[in-house]
């Protein structure tokens, strides 16, 4: 019984770890990332929490898949200025709308929220200062579509 008590948390941890992003940290890659072209803006997506790690829905930008909600990971896309609609769907769809200007950086936090049957991912628009603080411990996902 004692062995089982020790094994169960380890097994749970082992199940959780592969679900989290594992690339280089934000602080390591930030200075190496290319700048967006002057006519485009950049949108960062990140999920700071591993809560509900198995829930990793597709993240769509204006209807097009750009990645998933990988726990402890972040990635970015560069886009032409205009209206942006970010969506994530599990048992229900959650949307975020905002505008993007040339050379502007936007930060979208993918927050887990309790649902009726499964957790939901809620995309939230976040201030740069707050986002950069949260991004420090997260891993870069170079190919978010893979």
């Amino acid at each position: 019984m004692t062995i089982m008590r020790r094994l169960v948390p380890l097994l749970l941890l082992a199940l959780l770890l592969p679900a989290c992003a594992s690339g280089p940290k934000y602080t390591e890659v930030m200075s190496t990332l290319p700048s967006p072209t002057p006519t485009q803006g950049r949108i960062y997506f990140y999920r700071p929490s591993a809560l509900g790690a198995a829930v990793q829905p597709d993240i769509k930008l204006n209807g097009q898949k750009i990645g998933t909600a990988k726990p402890h990971g972040f990635y970015f896309v560069d886009r032409d200025p205009g209206d942006c609609v970010v969506s994530a769907a599990t048992e229900t769809e959650k949307r975020l709308t905002f505008t993007l200007e040339p050379r502007q950086e936007r930060y979208v936090r993918l927050k887990i929220q309790i649902g009726v049957l499964v957790g939901r991912i809620v995309p939230e628009l976040v201030d740069k200062a707050e986002a950069e603080e949260e991004l420090k411990g997260l891993s870069f996902i170079a190919n978010p579509l893979q």
Partner: protein, 134 residues
């Protein structure tokens, strides 16, 4: 079954359903008209103000935040935050600018939806502001 346990079993699913069904933000189409000469004017908020932005959702407009005028709607003058983000929230989340009539926040302008959203509780919030000219 003990009454306390029965109450928990009843309240928990109902609470979950309530969370699941947050009402949507009220919106109606609005025309944002730039005002010549006003594009450079801005306001600075002098005191923190808590404001209702959706059914059950609050935001704080912080002291020291600066908002720049981007035009007018039929409801008032529209101010966009400088160097920060502001959103309203219901079932979904929308970037928003505040709409002022004098010093009262009479609602929000949603730039993607091109829509006006009134305060969810119908209550207008008075801001303590200082106007800045270009």
């Amino acid at each position: 079954m003990r009454p306390a346990r029965a109450a928990v079993l009843l309240v928990a699913p109902v609470s979950l359903l309530l969370v699941a069904c947050a009402p949507e933000v009220v919106r109606r189409p609005a025309q944002l008209t730039p005002v010549p000469g006003q594009s450079e004017s801005a306001i600075e908020v002098l005191q923190d103000a808590s404001i209702s932005v959706g059914p059950g959702y609050q935001r704080v407009i912080p002291r020291g935040s600066v908002w720049t005028s981007v035009g007018r709607t039929a409801q008032g003058e529209v101010f966009k935050p400088v160097g920060r983000v502001f959103t309203v929230e219901g079932t979904h989340i929308y970037e928003a600018y505040i709409v002022l009539d004098g010093e009262r926040v009479v609602g929000f302008y949603l730039p993607v939806e091109r829509a006006f959203s009134p305060p969810p509780d119908g209550r207008e919030t008075k801001l303590s502001i200082r106007r800045r000219q270009p």
